[in-house]
């Protein structure tokens, strides 16, 4: 039996067709959740970031919570060309998801205190601190147990349990939330001119890391969606994070990485003496830099790689200022997912 001879030209055509077919199959697989058109549109938007100015991320070294945190943050703020907040209404969003032993899972109250002092210096008109615990019915119990209540009392700043705030239906962009064009979000969140996301730097057993964008999940009102922010279980955590992020007022980032968390975060991981503070006006850029400083690849963190692809923030051009990233590099134990 003779094997039919394939000409060189036919072989190239076949290879080309095979390559196109494999490419389409790959894109179809990668975009199954969002659709090909969205994928193309987002990719285009992502590439447009090359034409925009670079994002600046200020990095500082701060070995302990006993340091002069306000001075540290002020220096990073100035280095990072942050927005003018004079006269603005601000929601400060720390991470207070639950109380566990030694409070290693929550943003340190001294960092929150320093942020409040800095915002007062910057001349903001109004500050509230808000969070909706993922695991507790009363977020204020976490505020008390981590020591933040004294800080708030001494600064005269109100705390809003975002799980129970009045709710407003907010249109969601880009179709991230399946079966709904709206997210119900807290009034204090939507009425803020700017949200200052102040997360604790942590590995996360589902999202990979929890930094300034993932920290925003705390604003989802559990009185509507159930505990723990139960929309993430039906819509997917990454799509929900990105859909939420795009629905909010402008967000800026101040990261508490003085003591981070590695391994089985966000609650039961191990503390890491990192000594890192990070500040920036583009949360995606800040989160990308911090993820790299934890020793993780962005490609393994779907909400960050998805945001980078879709151009939800600047991921193409990032400039760091302050302490060199080399001096802040760590290698966190990966969460079980990575």
């Amino acid at each position: 039996m003779t094997v039919p001879k394939v000409s060189r030209r036919a072989f190239i055509r076949l290879a080309l067709l095979g390559g196109i077919g494999a490419g389409i199959a790959y894109i179809q697989h990668q975009t199954a959740g969002v659709g090909l058109l969205n994928f193309i549109r987002w990719s285009f938007r992502g590439q447009l970031q090359w034409l925009k100015p670079p994002a600046i991320v200020g990095l500082g070294k701060c070995p302990s919570y006993d340091e002069d945190l306000v001075s540290n943050l002020r220096e990073l703020w100035d280095l990072s060309e942050m927005p003018d907040l004079r006269g603005k209404s601000i929601l400060v969003k720390p991470n207070l998801l639950d109380e566990v032993d030694n409070n290693i899972a929550t943003t340190h109250p001294r960092i929150v205190a320093a942020v409040l002092d800095l915002l007062a210096e910057l001349g903001v008109s109004k500050i509230v601190v808000g969070e909706g615990s993922a695991f507790r019915r009363d977020t204020y119990s976490v505020v008390k147990s981590c020591g933040l209540s004294q800080t708030l009392d001494s600064h005269g700043i109100p705390f809003i349990d975002l799980n129970y705030d009045e709710l407003i239906p907010v249109k969601v962009r880009d179709g991230w939330i399946r079966n709904s064009d709206y997210l119900w979000l807290p009034r204090h969140v939507m009425e803020a001119d700017t949200i200052v996301s102040v997360p604790k730097l942590k590995a996360h057993h589902w999202a990979g890391v929890t930094l300034s964008i993932k920290n925003l999940l705390g604003v989802i009102p559990s009185s509507r969606y159930g505990w723990p922010k139960n929309i993430i279980h039906i819509n997917g955590i990454n799509a929900t994070i990105l859909g939420l992020y795009q629905s909010l007022p402008p967000v800026i980032s101040i990261i508490d990485g003085i003591i981070g968390m590695e391994g089985n975060g966000p609650l039961y991981g191990k503390p890491v003496q990192h000594g890192l503070l990070a500040v920036g006006r583009d949360p995606l850029a800040v989160d990308i830099i911090c993820t790299q400083l934890m020793g993780f690849s962005i490609e393994t963190i779907p909400h960050l790689s998805g945001a980078a692809l879709a151009g939800i923030g600047q991921a193409k051009k990032i400039v760091t200022r302050g302490i060199s990233p080399d001096q802040l590099q760590k290698h966190y134990e990966a969460p079980p997912i990575l």
Binding site: E99, V100, F135, R136, R137, D138, Y140, S141, K144, S145, D161, Y164, E166, L167, P169, W184, H205, W206, S223, R224, Y225, G226, W227, P228, N230, H233, I234, N264, L267, Y268, P336, I337
Partner: protein, 285 residues
């Protein structure tokens, strides 16, 4: 100092319901809880009637409730509304509709349409029959405990009985190693989680209705341990109510809670928390 009942009367919104704070617009959960707290108070009779009217006017066509009338989707709040209404016997049509909604609310695996067929759907997964926060989702401890509490004794269908028995199996399965319950799975993503007081209290209240012998000493121990960790009023009041329902009184706890009362008669200026304290002081939901 005004009494807690005075506070609740003052905190009532002009439309008849209550919010989670005294200045907030009404939502279903605190309104239902306050109605349960004031239902036997002669001085609050007018407030009670207005609150019932608000609750009835907020019911959706499908028989359920969302956060309030503006929320188009019925959800877990339906159990709270049903518990409150079931003490108010003048609107059986509304109660029947809400019983039907709660009995047939779909889950991740079984749609509402499938639940409305005469036969109970055949599924191997017991968790497919428990109650979600919102239709079409997986079940969780709190909405399941509240649905059991709401339906036990008033829902007579085979489906309701089957789902309540599924809830019992679910409570057994998701009890944490130390006793008590967290908000759902006791080992999510292979992580061992601690029992928490509020979900534990709700399950104990539900079990006290349907299967009291199922309650273990460790459950009460877990409840007390988290009550020591978490001083919040909701934890203390819900825990106290569960303990008192099971015949365990605690004078120290009562006096600790009393000490936290504010000048306006409330706890945390929160009608929902204040209602829980009243129910805990009285000893029944």
């Amino acid at each position: 100092m005004p009494s807690a009942i005075d506070y609740l009367i003052d905190a009532q919104h002009e439309s008849g319901g209550w919010g989670y704070t005294s200045t907030q617009k009404p939502v279903v959960e605190p309104t239902a809880a306050v109605l349960l707290a004031i239902r036997n108070e002669p001085l609050a009779n007018n407030s009670y009637q207005r609150g019932i009217s608000w609750l009835l006017s907020s019911q959706h066509q499908d028989g359920g409730w969302g956060i309030n009338k503006n929320d188009p989707e019925s959800g877990w709040q339906t159990a709270w509304a049903l518990i409150a209404l079931s003490y108010y016997n003048e609107n059986q049509a509304s109660i029947s509709k809400s019983v039907e909604w709660l009995t047939t609310v779909g889950t991740l695996e079984i749609s509402q349409a499938e639940f409305q067929k005469p036969e109970i759907p055949k599924r191997d997964n017991n968790d497919a029959f428990i109650w979600p926060w919102l239709p079409g989702q997986a079940g969780w401890i709190e909405p399941t405990a509240m649905a059991v509490f709401a339906l036990e004794g008033i829902a007579k269908t085979r489906l309701a009985e089957y789902r309540i028995s599924a809830a019992l199996r679910y409570f057994r399965k998701y009890r944490t190693a130390d006793g008590g319950w967290n908000i759902g799975n006791a080992t999510p993503l292979d992580t061992i989680v601690l029992p928490r007081a509020y979900p534990t209290a709700l399950v104990l209240l539900a079990l006290a209705r349907i299967a009291r012998p199922e309650i273990q000493i460790n459950d009460l121990k877990a409840l007390r341990q988290d009550m020591q960790r978490d001083p919040s009023i909701l934890t203390q009041a819900s825990g106290l109510l569960a303990l008192r329902t099971l015949g365990e009184d605690d004078e120290t706890l009562i006096s600790n809670i009393t000490e936290q009362r504010l000048q306006n008669g409330s706890w945390d200026d929160n009608p929902f928390f204040t209602a829980w304290v009243i129910m805990a002081s009285r000893g029944y939901l």
